[in-house]
Amino acid sequence: MISGKAIRSPANILPFFFYLSKIANPYIRVGLQGVRMVNNIKTYVARRLILLLPTVLGVTILIFAVAQLFDPVQRASLYIRDPKQLRSIDEVIEKYGLNQPIYLQYFSWFSQVLQGNLGWSQSLHMQVIDAIITRFPATLELALYAAPITIFLGIRLGKLSAVKKDTLIDHLTRAFAIVGWSLPAFWLGIVLLAFFYGGLGIFAPGRLSPWADVLITTGEFRVYTGLYTLDAILNLNGAVFLDALSHLILPVTTLTIINVALIMRIMRSSMLEQLGKTYIIAARARGLDDKKVIDKHAAKNALIPVITLSGLLTAGMLSGMVITETIFEFKGIGYFAAHAATQLDIPAVLGFALLTGIIFVIANLIVDLLYAYIDPRIRLA
C-alpha cells in the first residue's frame, strides 16, 4: 500500500507498532531532519506531558462535581444493598465520611492518591489499584488486536473506495461499512455469539477455555503481562496461544465490523480530496504509473486526518468497551467502570477516570507526534 517493500518487511510482535513502522518507514529515509527534530520533540513532549496533569486532574474534579449531585444517603446505597442492612445507615454514613463537605472529600482522596493509594472499591471488593491492574490487560489485549485490524481494514477499504469511486466496488464497500456502523454493538455481539457458540459450539465466551484456566491456577502457565496471547508466547505454549486467540476472534470481529466504517469514511474522503489536487492531476498527466501515484503520494498525504481518528479510536477502545466486554465475558476496565458507576462507587470511578484520562492524553500526544513527523508544515511551525 505504501510501498511494496514495506508490506513484505518482517512484522514486529506487537501489531500496533508494526503498523506504525509501515507508516514511518519511508519517512525515516527522508527524516534525517528527524535528528534535528529530536530536540524539538523532547521539548514538545515535555510540554505536552505537563499539560497532561491539569487535564487529568480536571476530569477528577469534574467527577467529584458530578458526585455532588448525590446526597449522603444515596452514596450510602453503595454499602446498604439489602433491606436487612437498613438500620445502620447512619453509622455507615459516619463511617465512610459521606456527609463531609465535598472539597474535604476531594482533598482527602487526592492526598491518598499522592501516596499511591487509590482507595478501596466497595463495588469490586478490592483495592482500586488492584482492580485496575488486574482488569486492564483484558481490555488492552482486545484493543491491541481490534484497533490495528480496524485501522488497517479501514484504510484499505477507504483507499479502494476512493480510487474506484462511484463504481460497484465503491458502493459495496461503503454499504458494508455503513451497515456495520449502524448495527447496535450489543445486538451484533449477541447474534454472533448465538450463531457461532450457540449454533456451532465454537468460540466460547471468556478469554480462555476451562482447561487453560486450570493451567494458570495451578501455576503451570505463568502469567507475565495478563495478555494471554503474549504470555502464551513467553511460556512457549502453543495450545494456550491458539485457545486465547480463538476466544479473541468474536469480540474483535464485532468491534471491527462496527468501527471500520469510521476509519474507512475518513480515509475515503481524505483520499478523494488528495486525488482532486492539482499535483496528482499533474503527475498523472505526466504519465507516472498510476499505482505509484496513488500509493506514494495521494494515500500518504491522505493519512493525516486518519491518524487523528485512529488515535481517538484506539484511545476509546483502551478505555474499555462495556458492551463487548459484557457479552463476551472479556471483563476489562470498561465493564468494571460501568459496574462501579451504577453503584456510585466513587473511588473506583475516580481511579478509572484517572486511567482513561491518561490514556487519552497519551494517545493525543502520540497522534500529535505522528503529525509532526509526517507533515513538515506542522513540524516546522
Binding site: K84, L86, V92, A194, L200, P210
Partner: protein
C-alpha cells in the same frame, strides 16, 4: 498486477465458499442442539450465577454470594440435617445441645458444645475449643455496622449493636463491654460454653449457629492475616483497631477447616475452590468447584446448553428458553424463604416528593393517609393476587396470609387473608376518612426499584384495579434506581412501597420482627406500632416451649390480618436448574446458594 488480481479473485471466491459453508453448518447445528453426551470436566463442578461475593470473612459476610463460598470453606459447630431447617447434625461440636442431653441448662441460658478432637484446618493446624471461642469473640468485636453479627449478639448480649452496651472509646466502659463479650463465650475443658443474656428459643439459636457468621476460624491463621490477636487487656485499643473496620481482615483469607479450600478468586470473574483432602469426614467427591460470575443471561444460557456449566442461575422469566432442552433437568416449585409484600407508611415525611399536593383534594394524599385502616384494607382488597402470581411470577409463588412463610414452624395455613374483591374494596374506600376519599379522590405514586419486574407488575396491577373502582383515583407507577429508592425509604417518603424479605435464619421470629415489631426494619420505617404485637414478639423468641410458641405466632398472624400494616403478595417458589449429570443435590431453603446449588460436599458428577 495481473497476479494480484487473480489471487484476489481466487481469495474472494474461497472466502465466499467458506462463509456459505459456515452459514449452512450453522443453520444445521442450530436445529440440532448438543445431546447429553460425555460429561464435560468430570471432576469439576462449574456453577454460573450473577453477582459475586462481597467477602470471604465469615464475620463480615451477609450476602448469599459470600455465604455460598464460606459455607464450604468453613465448618460451623452444628449444621442443618440435609433438607431440614429445624433439625441439626453436629459438626465441629460432637453433639447437638438439647435439654434432654443436658447440654442446655439454666432454662436455656447456658448452652454447651463439646468440641470434636482432631479436626484439621487448611493451614495444617487443628481446631481447638480456643479456636471456637476466638471465632465468636472476634466476630462480636468486629460486628460491622451493616453486618450479620447482630444475630449473635441478640441472644448472647441482648443487644443489636455493641455501642448499646457502652462507649467503646471510654477505657472503663470499653473494659466492661469487653468483659461481657469474654464471659459470653468461655472454654471449659473440651467444651465451649455460651451464656445467653436472655432466654432464646433453642431452635432459633441453633439455626443461627449453623450459618456462616458462626463459622469456626483457625485462630493462628486469622491472626496471621491481621485479625484480632486475641488479647483482652486493652479493650479500648482492641475496639479502636478491630471494631467495624472499613475492610475486613479476612477479606480473601482462608482460615477454615471445611471440605474445600480457596484456590483462587478472580474478582468479578470467578472463584475456584479445591478439595481439602484432610477433611475430617473424608475428602469430597468433587475435586474442584468453580463459580463463574456471568451477568449476561444469553452468555450464561449458551454455556449451560453447551455443557460448559453444570448449575446455572436461570431468571424465572426466561425459563421457557431452557425448558426441555437436552441434558437439562429442572426441579420446580421449591418453597423459598422469601416473601414480598406491599407496605403502607403511616406517617409519610411531609416533605416527600411523592405526596402530590399533600392534601386530600384529589391531587395528592395527606402524610397520614394510611393511618386509616379502611384505606389499607381497601388497597389490600384491590390487589389481584392470582393474576399477579400467574402473570408476574409465572404461577411460581404462593399466596400466604402473613409474613411467616410456608415450610417454617408455626405457619398457619388456615389464617384468613385478603383476596381480590372489588366490592369489598369499594366498601372500604367509601368508608375511608369519613367518605372524603371517595368524594375527592386522590393521587398517589408507587415507586419500584429498577430492574425488578415483578414489583413493577404488582404496582401496575394495583394501579389498574384501584383506578377502575373510581375515576377520581389516580395511581402513578414510577421507576427509580436503588440509591434514590433507598433514600426515599430511609426518610419515610414512600407512601406505599413493595419490598421483600429473605430469611436470615428459618425461624418465624426472623419474619415477624421486621414486619411487625415497632423496632423492626420495615415496621419502624412505616411508623407502625402495636404494643400488643411487640409484647407477643418479644415473648415468642424467648419462649422455649414449642406449643406456647405456636400459640403466640398464630395470634401474631391473626393480628397481621386485622391490622394490615402491610399485606403479603407472594412467597416465591424457586427452581433448580442443572445438567443431568449432576448428582447428590437436595433442597434446603436456608442454604445460601439454594435453590441453585447446595453444600458441595454432597455433590458429584456422573450418570
Amino acid at each position: 498486477m495481473f497476479n494480484k488480481k487473480a489471487i484476489g479473485k481466487v481469495a474472494a471466491v474461497i472466502i465466499a465458499v467458506v462463509l456459505i459453508a459456515a452459514i449452512i453448518a450453522g443453520i444445521y447445528y442450530f436445529y440440532l442442539m448438543p445431546k447429553g453426551g460425555p460429561i464435560k470436566n468430570p471432576n469439576t463442578l462449574i456453577i454460573a450465577t450473577i453477582g459475586e461475593p462481597e467477602t470471604l470473612d465469615p464475620a463480615w459476610a451477609y450476602d448469599t454470594a459470600s455465604g455460598e463460598v464460606i459455607c464450604n470453606m468453613y465448618d460451623t459447630l452444628i449444621f442443618f440435617d440435609r433438607e431440614k431447617v429445624d433439625s441439626f447434625v453436629p459438626k465441629i461440636a460432637e453433639k447437638v445441645p438439647s435439654v434432654e442431653n443436658g447440654l442446655v441448662k439454666d432454662n436455656g441460658l447456658t448452652i454447651i458444645f463439646p468440641i470434636r478432637q482432631g479436626i484439621k484446618t487448611h493451614g495444617g493446624g487443628t481446631i481447638t475449643p480456643e479456636d471456637v471461642e476466638y471465632s465468636f469473640e472476634r466476630a462480636i468485636i468486629q460486628s460491622r455496622s451493616h453486618g450479620p453479627i447482630w444475630m449473635l449478639m441478640e441472644p448472647l448480649l441482648g443487644v443489636y449493636d455493641l455501642s448499646e452496651l457502652g462507649n467503646l472509646s471510654d477505657p472503663v466502659e470499653a473494659a466492661k463491654v469487653g468483659d461481657m463479650i469474654d464471659k459470653a463465650v468461655e472454654v471449659e475443658g473440651n467444651n465451649v460454653v455460651f451464656k445467653l443474656a436472655k432466654p432464646f428459643a433453642l431452635t432459633a439459636f441453633l439455626q443461627i449457629w449453623s450459618q456462616t457468621w458462626a463459622s469456626i476460624v483457625d485462630k493462628e491463621a486469622a491472626v496471621a492475616s491481621g485479625a484480632w490477636p486475641g488479647n483482652k487487656d486493652n479493650w479500648v485499643e482492641v475496639f479502636a483497631k478491630y471494631h467495624d473496620p472499613e475492610v475486613p481482615e479476612l477479606q480473601e483469607a482462608d482460615c477454615g477447616s471445611g471440605p474445600f479450600k480457596l484456590e483462587k478468586w478472580e474478582h468479578g470473574k470467578e472463584l475456584s475452590l479445591i478439595r481439602f483432602d484432610d477433611y475430617w469426614t473424608g475428602p469430597a467427591k468433587l475435586e474442584r468447584v468453580v463459580i463463574k460470575y456471568i451477568d449476561e443471561w444469553s452468555t450464561r444460557k449458551l454455556m449451560f446448553l453447551q455443557g460448559d456449566v453444570d448449575l446455572c442461575y436461570v431468571p424465572r422469566q426466561y425459563s421457557s428458553e431452557v425448558e426441555g432442552a437436552e441434558g437439562i433437568v429442572c426441579v420446580k416449585n421449591l418453597p423459598t424463604l422469601a416473601v414480598d409484600a406491599v407496605f403502607f407508611t403511616f406517617n409519610v415525611d411531609p416533605n416527600s416528593p411523592y405526596l402530590g399536593s399533600g392534601k386530600l383534594d384529589g391531587n395528592g394524599i395527606p402524610p397520614d393517609f394510611f393511618s386509616d385502616i379502611n384505606l389499607r384494607k381497601a388497597f389490600a382488597y384491590s390487589f389481584d393476587f392470582d393474576t399477579y402470581i400467574k402473570e408476574a411470577l409465572l404461577g411460581e409463588a404462593k399466596h400466604i396470609p402473613g409474613p411467616i412463610p410456608e415450610g417454617l414452624p408455626f405457619f398457619n395455613p388456615n389464617q384468613e387473608t385478603y383476596k381480590f374483591d372489588s366490592a369489598k374494596a369499594e366498601q372500604y374506600f367509601k368508608a375511608a376518612w369519613n367518605g372524603q376519599v371517595w368524594e375527592k379522590g386522590f393521587k398517589i405514586q408507587i415507586l419500584y426499584n429498577s430492574g425488578n419486574i415483578p414489583r413493577k407488575t404488582a404496582a401496575e396491577i394495583l394501579k389498574h384495579n384501584i383506578e377502575s373502582i373510581n375515576p377520581k383515583f389516580h395511581v402513578e407507577v414510577i421507576e427509580v434506581d436503588w440509591p434514590t429508592y433507598l433514600r426515599a425509604f430511609v426518610r419515610s417518603q414512600l407512601p406505599v412501597f413493595i419490598i421483600g424479605w429473605l430469611a436470615d435464619y428459618p425461624d418465624p421470629h426472623n419474619f415477624v420482627f421486621p414486619f411487625m415489631h415497632s423496632n423492626g426494619d420495615y415496621a419502624s420505617a412505616q411508623g407502625y406500632s402495636n404494643p400488643r404485637v411487640d409484647e407477643l414478639i418479644e415473648k415468642g423468641i424467648a419462649e422455649i416451649n414449642p406449643d406456647k410458641r405456636k400459640e403466640i405466632y398464630y395470634e401474631l398472624q391473626r393480628l397481621y390480618f386485622e391490622d394490615v400494616p402491610s399485606f403479603i403478595i407472594d412467597q416465591g417458589l424457586g427452581r433448580h436448574w442443572a445438567r443431568d449429570w449432576v448428582k447428590g443435590w437436595y433442597y434446603n431453603p436456608i442454604y445460601p446458594g439454594a435453590p441453585l446449588s447446595t453444600y458441595f460436599y454432597d455433590l458429584w458428577k456422573g450418570y
